[in-house]
């Protein structure tokens, strides 16, 4: 069984279009993340959600809008796609133990390679 899944795995689209990437986890985790890996392989956090609430928004343009319909899903919608949005987008999930200050391993999805032409 796939723990963290993303669809689609590959996405090719024209500049100016709007697209969505879906993420689902079946691990029972309550925290989900989106990371962006650019063409130089640099990975950076974009968003994190805990129990469907936005916790982290790392100065990502407003064209990016995450949506968490429930704890098992975190989708990423991108409006007015630009050439610079071409990257691999990774979804991840983990369990959060508030107050315990523990780190719980983040499990990553397979990534979605977005190419904007």
């Amino acid at each position: 069984d796939t723990a963290v899944s993303q669809t689609p795995k590959y996405l090719v689209t024209q500049m100016g279009n709007d697209k969505s990437i879906k993420c689902e986890q079946n691990l029972g985790h309550d925290t989900m993340y989106w990371y962006k890996q650019d063409s130089k392989k640099f990975l950076k956090i974009m968003f994190s959600y805990n129990n469907k609430e936005l916790i982290i928004n790392e100065t990502v343009p407003n064209r990016f809008s995450p949506k968490s319909p429930d704890k098992a899903h975190l989708n990423l919608h991108i409006n007015s796609l630009e050439l610079g949005d071409s990257a691999v987008y990774f979804c991840a999930s983990s369990r959060l133990d508030p107050g315990l200050a523990l780190y719980n391993e983040q499990f990553f999805g397979p990534g979605t390679r977005l190419t904007v032409l």
């Binding site: 691999v88 959060l96 780190y103």
Partner: protein, 114 residues
Amino acid sequence: AQTVTQSQPEMSVQEAETVTLSCTYDTSESDYYLFWYKQPPSRQMILVIRQEAYKQQNATENRFSVNFQKAAKSFSLKISDSQLGDAAMYFCAYSSQGAQKLVFGQGTRLTINP
């Protein structure tokens, strides 16, 4: 803000030999976690090893071990008996205690020569 630096963009090693990947980080916190992730050509992110900053003992996982120097803010990964399957990008990462994000280094591409 925390930063993670990997100063070796590329490394290569002969099969069965030992290689060490370097990582330094900057933080003002005393409690945190450090990780090494492997990303093979399949691009799947795989956790290799993790270290809790409060633990003095270096973490080991089979052929993988770390040299954690807290005062120097250094966290290197040693791979012993390198195998062809170890070829990948390796990322060093940092997380604050209780934080909800990983801060990654730039990555090191490791090549294994047969």
